[in-house]
């Protein structure tokens, strides 16, 4: 105890304090997650219809013609054409398989952090990114777009050219918007001289029920099985066939949302002390709660736009991380930034290669099915192991 008092006066310990959050458990978690992402990612780029050896996959991954070529990065991040002179292996690995891993990383991050924020906002460990109606709103819009607007094209005349957007190009945008609109609706319903966690959750459940019913009803109007399968893939969450295009969609909002989440750690921590304490400490609770929810919805909407509604990641990851490193949100958010991608990338290996390994079929299942299959039982295990589950 005695050493603590002069500690604050010495510059050397100042630095120690700044990095006090980075302790063994968090470092282990982050390192372990990175290893899982790298290993699962490597497996993911090695296997596929075009067969290549481990060595070939490795040399394609470390291909200098990709890494140190401005042209390739412009192709990936700005949508330019991939330059000539890239080997066929590198082309397949980098254009077809790597973006899927990158998208999985970003989706995992967004969902985990979004869930962590919603768990603080509602002060409930069982909250997920989709608790405030986001998934049902997105799901309804997905069905509306696929069933009602099928074959619809939006032509936007611009100065020099016209942009033609087909249903499939509009789907990600509409899905994300549907989620955001549903969140707004939930907030409006819950608002009566301010909100409370319980009222928000109840309003989310009600809006969710209505929207899910409408979504189910729309299934009956689907004309062919392909549309139904596409709708199911979107509403279960799938990153089959994603390209660098999807990376470009999710990257900007991920950077923004994750940045704000990291900087808001203290607000989240104070919110966990309860509304009364938070407001007596000078926090504008309603405004903070809404702003943080909006950030979480942005993160969830970004992941919906590229992957549809991937369940369980946003519920399970914050929970696991909290069990490992405690409930301090600075550490929790950082942990989620690493653990979310680990679960998502690993689950996607199962989604893409699982059917191949099981019965040799080349079919793929939506990754949301795998996250549910893995996450559900693990969550159950945690629940059985812990004495108290529910309030943070």
């Amino acid at each position: 105890m005695a050493e603590d008092i002069p500690a604050s006066a010495e510059p050397t310990t100042d630095r120690d304090e700044r990095f006090a959050w980075l302790d063994r458990s968090l470092a282990t978690l982050c390192l372990g997650s990175v290893i899982i992402v790298l290993v699962a990612g490597f497996v993911q780029v090695r296997f596929g219809t075009y067969d290549m050896s481990w060595g070939a996959a490795f040399s394609a991954l470390t291909d200098e013609a990709i890494w140190f070529n401005r042209g390739t990065w412009e192709a990936f991040l700005l949508g330019e054409r991939l330059p000539e002179g890239v080997s066929i292996e590198s082309r397949i690995v980098w254009a077809q398989r790597v973006p899927r891993v990158v998208v999985a990383v970003f989706v995992g991050m967004n969902l985990a952090v979004s869930g962590a924020i919603f768990q603080a906002v509602t002060r409930n460990e069982l909250a997920s990114p989709f608790i405030l109606g986001v998934s049902s709103g997105a799901g309804l819009m997905i069905l509306l777009t696929l069933v009602v607007l099928s074959g619809f094209t939006l032509v936007i005349p611009l100065a020099l050219t016209t942009v033609t957007l087909t249903t499939s190009a509009l789907l990600p945008l509409f899905a994300a918007l549907g989620g955001i609109v549903a969140f707004g609706l939930v907030y409006m319903i819950a608002w009566k001289n301010g909100t409370s966690p319980v009222r928000l959750v109840l309003a989310g459940v009600v809006v969710g029920m209505v929207f899910t019913s409408l979504q189910r009803a729309l299934f009956f109007f689907a004309q062919d099985i392909a549309v139904v399968q596409q709708a199911i893939a979107w509403t279960t969450g799938s990153i089959t066939g994603v390209q660098w295009e999807e990376v470009r969609i999710i990257l900007p909002s991920t950077v923004v949302a994750m940045g704000i989440a990291l900087l808001s750690a203290r607000q989240l921590n104070v919110l966990l002390l309860g509304e009364k304490t938070a407001s007596s400490l000078g926090m504008n609770v309603e405004r903070t709660r809404f702003a943080l929810s909006a950030v979480a919805v942005l993160a969830a909407a970004a992941s919906i736009a590229v992957a549809g509604i991937v369940s369980f990641v946003g519920l399970v990851v914050p929970h696991v991380v909290r069990n490992l490193i405690g409930s301090d949100y600075k550490r929790l958010i950082i942990g989620c930034l690493f653990a979310g991608p680990a679960l998502m990338v690993a689950a996607d290996v199962g989604a893409r290669l699982g059917p191949l390994a099981l019965n040799g079929s080349m079919g793929q299942i939506p990754v949301g099915i795998v996250t549910g299959l893995v996450g559900g039982p693990y969550f159950l295990y945690l629940m059985r192991k812990k004495e108290a589950v529910g309030d943070i």
Partner: protein, 327 residues
């Protein structure tokens, strides 16, 4: 060692010099512990750091007499109920003194305190801090002047004592600022004052009810406010911790000239520790004044419905039996 340090802090005003000396004697024991394990030079250093922070504390209170805090013509109720709980009452918290709010269950003590603390917006009337309506303060600016400790507090699992006390600095920090030296000094001072230094790195969940309460008090103290509102801080605590809490309240009044309003369940405690008592009966102020004037046998019968004997000099309330409602 104590002499040297008093010399070092000679720049402070004579009035606060007293406070220094008192705190110093408290610190002396901490120094004693420190010198067992560390070099003499280090313990010297400790005393200087602690001493410097005490000077800071005094300079923060610009008004040596304490800050006036009043509620004028307050009407306070809850949304959804017809009748307000508090109907057009005015209360004054004496600057730099301890004012106790007493009354039976349901008399509106906690409601009045919540209204004073800006937790419930009054339907009418105004609460003035240092002559300014608390509604005119920004929420963080108000939290730098006015602290509130609620009756029941929750904290997430795994939160350490020091982390919780650090949250007390919330109103002093910008949205994305780190901890400054001032913040750290305030945290150390608050932990010291609440006497929870030995619990600093403990998990809040592992503490007893009494220890938890002291830690929460430390958090409110880290806010470094001029006015402090405490909602039944001693209820549910054992005798040792009750006395410890009230001891802290006395120290705050004597040394920091804080204006303190405390809701007390226990009239005997109010008689002993408060400078002024506001007795509430059914949402109305029944009487206000120094304990010896307010706490009479009549008041105890009328307001609390107990038959009690009140001895003066020293003031002592001894409840005898409950009176029937119609007596």
């Amino acid at each position: 060692m104590t002499d040297e340090d008093t010399g070092a802090s000679s720049t402070v005003t004579p009035a606060s010099g007293d406070a220094d000396a008192t705190s110093e004697s408290g610190d002396a024991s901490a120094n004693g512990d420190a010198s067992v394990s560390t070099e003499a030079a280090t313990s010297e250093n400790i005393t200087e750091t602690v001493n410097a922070s005490i000077v800071d504390a005094d300079s923060l209170t610009d008004d040596p007499e304490g800050v006036p805090f009043t509620g004028d013509d307050l009407v306070i109720g809850y949304p959804g109920t017809e009748e307000p709980v508090i109907d057009d009452e005015s209360v004054v918290a004496a600057p730099g003194e301890v004012t106790a709010l007493v009354g039976p269950n349901g008399s509106g003590k906690s409601t009045l305190l919540k209204g004073l603390a800006d937790q419930i917006e009054p339907d009418a009337g105004s609460v003035l801090l240092d002559g300014r309506d608390i509604g005119d303060f920004g929420s963080k600016a108000l939290a730098r002047r006015l602290g509130l400790l609620s009756q029941e507090n929750v904290a997430p699992d795994g939160l350490t004592v020091e982390k919780l006390v650090t949250h007390g600095r919330y109103p002093h920090r910008g949205a994305f600022d780190g901890l400054t030296d001032d913040d750290r000094a305030a945290i150390d001072r608050a932990i010291d004052l609440a006497g929870v230094d030995h619990l600093r790195d403990r998990d809040l969940g592992s503490l007893s009810g009494g220890q938890k309460q002291l830690v929460w008090i430390a958090m409110v103290l880290a806010q470094e406010t001029d006015v402090l509102l405490l909602d039944e801080p001693t209820t549910f605590l054992d005798m040792h911790h009750q006395l410890q809490v009230m001891g802290i309240v006395e120290t705050l009044r004597d040394e920091a000239e804080m204006t303190i309003v405390v809701v007390l369940h226990d009239v005997e405690q109010a008689a002993r520790f408060a400078d002024y008592i506001i007795a509430l009966d059914d949402g109305a102020v029944y009487d206000w004044g120094p304990p010896e004037d307010v706490l009479t046998e009549d008041l105890l019968a009328d307001v609390f419905a107990v038959d009690a004997t009140v001895d003066h000099d020293p003031l002592r309330v001894s409840p005898q039996r409950a009176l029937d409602a119609d007596e």
